[in-house]
Subunit: 225 residues, 2 copies
């Protein structure tokens, strides 16, 4: 059976769990606390020198890292990844967009709000990050105004990749009210067979998220761009 090393409250890790659940493929989940050094131990770095989660491990010990590469490998040959080369490339294109133009500006604000102290100097980055997060949502909104999914003609791994952090964007102080097509897509994803919501963060992180939302310095940038 394959094993997934991941942090349950990480969107990048949840991508893998969500696809495995929807594929109904058995797996073993190995929880790694990457926010507290779990990916920086010698044992972990021996398997993944880049020190990140998620990491897929086969029974023969071979590993595959990078969430979107894992999605690709798991989905190849299933309905979650088109066979047509052009549609497949378009799905990969959206997954590249997700890692370069979306995740650093949507996932990182969530991390800052829920996984750093309220007086962290990183909070000064939030307005700039959120501005670029809204730019990513605007690109997504435009696509979704014309097409229902990011993975060719149907739901698939590009949708899973983009859903992961868009679905919890509110944690990072984003208001998705200006994006009706995006919100409709989020609802369509949540209605797919076998959908699994990301597990809630630990109580301490939930408290930080709540405090961040109530803190004017970080929350005042949440709307518009």
């Amino acid at each position: 059976m394959i094993a997934v090393h991941g942090m349950s409250s990480s969107g990048n890790c949840h991508k893998v769990r969500l696809l495995l659940e929807q594929l109904e493929r058995p797996y073993r989940w190995i929880e790694v606390d990457s926010a507290n050094g779990g990916t920086r131990t010698p044992a972990y770095l021996a398997k993944n020198p880049n020190g990140k989660v998620p990491m897929l491990e086969r029974e023969d010990g071979q590993v595959l890292v990078e969430s979107n590469a894992i999605l690709y490998w798991l989905a190849d040959g299933t309905p979650f990844l088109p066979q047509d080369p052009w549609q497949r490339a378009q799905a990969l294109s959206w997954m590249c967009f997700e890692q370069y133009s979306h995740e650093p500006y949507v996932a990182v604000p969530r991390f800052i709000c829920g996984w750093t102290p309220l007086d962290s100097p990183r909070r000064a980055d939030l307005p700039r990050l959120r501005e670029r997060g809204h730019a990513a949502f605007t690109v997504m909104e435009r696509h979704l105004s014309a097409k229902p999914w990011f993975t060719g003609e149907r739901y698939g791994i590009a949708d899973i990749a983009l859903f992961a952090y868009t679905g919890v964007a509110g944690d990072g102080g984003f208001d998705l009210a200006p994006y009706p097509a995006l919100r409709a897509w989020l609802a369509r994803v949540r209605a797919t067979p076998g959908f699994a919501e990301m597990p809630a963060p630990a109580p301490g992180n939930l408290a930080l998220l709540a405090a961040s939302a109530a803190h004017p310095g970080s929350a005042s940038q949440a709307r518009g761009h």
Copy 2:
């Protein structure tokens, strides 16, 4: 014939040119000055709402964006991308690594050094960016100490993706002396059939690169990490 909209001195764009040259596939190159608003015109944004180069355009007008997705589409079915699913996923994994853990810390310092004024406040980011660039080189060095290429058993698109900005890392103030396996790999890439070096930046950008290298405030962080 396919058309590539790109800026010649951009590594992300050069990836596509290099593969097309090595595939000996005909293409039309449409120069776009992305450093001066060329990707922000209404005509360009109508084709690529994310406003970035490169962009591949087919004769039927359909477009594909994101450099690594373009590489994937062009290489599929050629020796530049393995057929074996696991090796293919590993190549994609390195391409994800390139976009998330390498390009933002290797390409961006080069951009700051050669495409922003010498008194740009962005230059204050250089030490932090370079530290993470060196972390990426360390991960690459470790892989290359055991294996000759990033694309399975042979040279291919993951090598092209990682070569693009590693090959001009010096422009961003990086010294690659601590990475002998990396330097040997750069030489192997340059020796592949049909290899094409990235065109030199415009004279004004070359002058900025030279001035940046001579400027102690930005050059003093060039070594070690």
